[in-house]
Symmetry: C2
Subunit: 271 residues, 2 copies
Amino acid sequence: MAADSEDSPRQARLFVETPLQEAAIVELDPDRAHYLRHVLRLGNGDAVTLFNGADGEWRATIEAAGKRGGRLSVSTQIRTQESEPDLWLVFAPIKRARIDFIAEKATELGVAALVPVFTRYTAMTRVNVERLRANAIEAAEQTERLSVPEVREPVTLEKLLQDWPGERRLLMADESGAGQPIAVSLGGLDAAAKRQPWAVLIGPEGGFHRDELDLLRNLDFVTAVGLGPRILRADTAALAALSCWQALVGDWERPTPRLALDYKRRDAKER
Amino acid sequence: MAADSEDSPRQARLFVETPLQEAAIVELDPDRAHYLRHVLRLGNGDAVTLFNGADGEWRATIEAAGKRGGRLSVSTQIRTQESEPDLWLVFAPIKRARIDFIAEKATELGVAALVPVFTRYTAMTRVNVERLRANAIEAAEQTERLSVPEVREPVTLEKLLQDWPGERRLLMADESGAGQPIAVSLGGLDAAAKRQPWAVLIGPEGGFHRDELDLLRNLDFVTAVGLGPRILRADTAALAALSCWQALVGDWERPTPRLALDYKRRDAKER
């Protein structure tokens, strides 16, 4: 399902934080230059594509890549920026491999922001935001996304809810059995509700405290939903809720335009 | 979201392949006895629960656990067996960490069978079925499932389709852009179609070959669906399709009965 196939080697894609336009010069820090040289095994004169979350995707050529950094020159635009659903994933941090996994998969599933939240039963007390961010960038680069989710600093559940932006709705994975089934709840939304910004909230492995559940259920922007009769780990619950939201509310009514194109190219080559 | 919380340490659960009834004796092989002693740190007289995919879940006591194996005595039933949706996951094998992940997550998401399939662009040529099976058992044990998915021997796509059981429908994740959006397709099924056995088919990282796509689309038991405008890795596509199927066709209209019970217990304790 991913971008690369045997007969079309993976295109080197880089996320950069500078404006992209014809003839722009993009400077790379030593880390990114190292990635180009030693992971992607590219050097001066080689082609890459660049995206920055705002200006679409552009072809560029490596002009220099060494120990002290690199320089790329931008040539032509190959994709225009597309609008994406405004969906956050708010999640209680979990241990290392599973939190990496959440960052990677949530990026593929199109979230706009990752928001770590501390709840009463959250076992973790620290979050490596830089590491989460690196995982999100890598997932966006490798799966042809044109943007990278914002990774927020962690916040307590109380503070998050106090500062909650009024127009954003919160879909809460409620393992207590009190919520409606997710497909019933999301399938019943009217067009106006579907156009609002949303967030998915996944609690910690230990579940929410009763006081937290009471607090959440009484907020008018919260919709509590169930994810079926089997117990899901926190990372599975996050992916499942994001997938159902994208399928029923988000932009999954749209096809995958780039891959459709790759197929046409490959088929043409084979004939 | 998972079974354990800070104030209720995880119950040791074991999948066994022997009948479970009052006063039954269950023999453990050296591997499982080692797991009890050195991973769960349990010894003679300690309590565990057992399930076998047919007889529900039972309490048992460790009578012996040593280097040459172990013995458990079964006492009372604590859950009766529940019926589960008849959903297979048919997937092209991918590299080690991601295939482990597929086995774990598909088990949590309630699949009845895992079927590795070799396609034209599948990079892997071997599948460690025993390892997949171990991952599925561990996921079932840790997330309170009462059964373990069957893990089939790998098969070629041609052979799989030749021998396909006529009444089972095949939901194919079609990244070429030709399928209907998954929520439209599954949401439009009638009650009879929802009651049929189903399978989800996920192709390899390189996509299906054009001939494979043509073959699949012409079979009357195949429904091709799209999973949105972003490219998903094969493991993400598998999870997303299984989640949508469970939400729209499977048993996610049911709540999570055991966790609801745990909440009641914990709340009662805190008062």
